[in-house]
Symmetry: C2
Subunit: 88 residues, 2 copies
């Protein structure tokens, strides 16, 4: 059983109101280290077998065609989750 992660972020030139709200809240809550924040989506796709190159290619295609809106979002990363979602 394998897992592929697809990360989708708003394009850099697109306004990100969620990220702006987080960036405004962090300094008030004691986290003044961060100059700006952008918020995107992370998808974890489970496959029954191992993560092959074909699976990664399919995940990338799904990311570009289904999981993201290419007008305003980029698929920034597609990779196998080798930790299988283990906690920190």
């Amino acid at each position: 059983m394998g897992r592929v992660v697809v990360d989708v972020m708003p394009k850099p030139e697109i306004l990100d109101p969620q990220g702006k709200a987080v960036a405004g809240a962090l300094p008030r809550l004691g986290f003044g280290q961060f100059a700006s924040v952008r918020q995107g989506k992370r998808f974890e796709l489970e496959v029954d077998g191992p993560v092959t190159d074909e699976i990664l290619a399919a995940a990338r295609a799904a990311g570009e065609q289904v999981l993201s809106n290419p007008v305003i979002e980029d698929v920034v990363a597609v990779y196998e989750d080798v930790e299988q979602g283990a906690a920190l």
Copy 2:
């Protein structure tokens, strides 16, 4: 200028209706490889200087205290984005 990524996912025991909807749509759209999907959030936190251990610790704390709801979500990853958001 550095960037830290904080990934937040719904806990495994929590129902994830967004992920279920995506998992139902993918086979209809030609992506039958994926058995299940979960959808979470990806935050990119920008810092003006380099990403130090203190910055990573602050990002982890912000992830647990601000960016996630610890009742239903886990912070699954905190790491420096060395690619600086480069496209695939």
